[in-house]
């Protein structure tokens, strides 16, 4: 007599569940998979990870035990988080900040390369907070504005960048400020699930809105005349300015968008640790270094935000 149906079904249902979990856990679909540097390949001058320096219940200990920091970053945001098609690596301001955090967690010197200890996961605006809340990432560095509503859901670091919402328009446009868009025949483009979208409603309630999954589609849409302006944080817009010289940024900063690193409320001790790291970066010149590297074209490095 063969297997009873119950046994057959039971064993059959276990296998795919295991495969699904294995596949889910083991697959990275953007940057190259991170590996832990072995003792022989560790660059000269670095110290061993100070796992014992962190309390056992702290989130940092968990990260050290895992061997890498999982960071959620944007991958379609020029200057802040962009997947380079030719190197298959995500690069940008946010990525460098997160690498510094990783160096601090693993006790590496400032000159060390943190790439092996960080696994970058591309996230969209809508995915950022859910992913953090369920532990798929340790930290979010994805051009995320600190808002009271979000503070209810996650913890923020102190401000690591002060952006402001602005407008991107074609060079020939006569629009000079957000109030110019407050007409029914004007269309503004932004991203679904972003504060930018909500600010547009606040400052230009009469305008039509066009919403896509990402800002890059917005720029394409505007270039095709489907919208008169793209509105989001000025630094995000600056990235697109670099790619297309036929655009200009107008309207100044009509909102203040303080960027913060996001951490889950359940990450014990992580917020304090990250904050101390961010403060160090601001005072010891690393912040200005990163700013100049990515935003140098926009202007000289200002004082870091408080």
């Amino acid at each position: 007599m063969g297997l009873s149906r119950r046994t057959l079904i039971h064993s059959a249902s276990m296998a795919p569940a295991a495969a699904l979990l294995a596949a889910c856990g083991g697959t990275t679909q953007n940057a190259s998979p991170s590996t832990i540097a072995t003792a022989t390949t560790r660059p000269a001058g670095t110290t061993a990870p100070q796992a014992t320096a962190f309390p056992a219940t702290s989130h940092m200990a968990k990260v050290v035990q895992r061997g890498k920091l999982l960071a959620g970053v944007k991958q379609d945001q020029p200057l802040f988080g962009l997947l380079n098609p030719r190197t298959n690596q995500i690069e940008g301001f946010d990525i460098d900040i997160v690498k510094e955090i990783a160096k601090a967690v693993f006790g590496l010197a400032a000159s060390a390369d943190a790439t092996p200890r960080v696994e970058l996961r591309g996230v969209t605006s809508a995915q950022r907070i859910p992913l953090l809340q369920e532990g798929a990432v340790d930290i979010i560095a994805a051009t995320m504005t600190i808002t009271d509503a979000r503070k209810l859901e996650i913890d923020f670091s102190e401000i690591y960048y002060m952006a402001g919402q602005s407008l991107l328009v074609p060079k020939a446009s006569t629009i000079t400020k957000i109030q110019d868009m407050d007409k029914a025949d004007q269309t503004v483009c932004s991203a679904q699930g972003s504060t930018s979208e909500q600010n547009i409603t606040k400052f230009a309630p009469a305008a039509q809105k066009l919403l896509f999954a990402g800002y890059a589609e917005c720029v394409t849409a505007m270039q095709q005349g489907r919208a008169q302006a793209v509105s989001t944080d000025d630094i995000i817009l600056a990235g697109f300015l670099e790619q297309d010289p036929n655009l200009k940024m107008v309207g100044g900063q009509f909102t203040q968008e303080p960027y913060g690193l996001g951490m889950a409320k359940t990450s014990m001790g992580f917020q304090e640790f990250v904050n101390s790291e961010v403060r160090k970066m601001k005072t010891d010149g690393r912040w200005k270094q990163i700013y100049t590297k990515w935003l140098g074209k926009v202007g000289p490095a200002p004082e870091p935000p408080k």
Binding site: A126, Q192, E197, L211, F212, A213, T220, Q224
Partner: protein, 212 residues
Amino acid sequence: MAANLPFLLQGLWVTVQLAVLSLLLALTLGIFFGVLRTVPLKPLRAVGTAYVEFFRNTPLLIQMYFTFFALPWLGVRLPGFQAAFLSLGIYTGAFVAEVVRSGILSISRGQVEAARSLGLSYVQTMRHVILPQAVSITVPPLGNLVIAMTKNTSVASAIAVQDVMYNGNILNSRTFATYEVFAAVGAGYLALTVPLSFAVNRIERHLTRFRR
């Protein structure tokens, strides 16, 4: 939450409009290319085959992105709804063509010859022999295509068409009431597809009532 219902219903209305218009386009293209694949001329059949095979085997999302983001470079800039309707019509049309072709080919030649030899004219043969059978063969699969197409209208939300899916996303980011919003969106789609399923089942049983 109840105050937001009209916004979702607005989106649902756009979904319905998109579905109906795309269906008209799909039927037109599908019947044309389906018949084209059965004519005795090989080059014409090849054109039909190329249409069917290319649009059936490529994702609808890529076709919609193409119509919306790529065509403007050729000088054809369509608003979201039109781009979606065009893409969805062409995509579904390829499936309709297949159904039409099988329908035509399934009527055995013998019946046509028998009808003609009994003295029935071409029109009479069509009317009393071929079309009734063709309809009963093609209507159920076509019905299923209509259901599939209604669901496929959701892809239009990716090119910013303000259908129920797009409006649901906006509501979700505004209210964070994810469960309620998407349950409502799901209910909206079910309200369209479930009655259609029942209707297709009913029609199929009616049409095949003599064959069982």
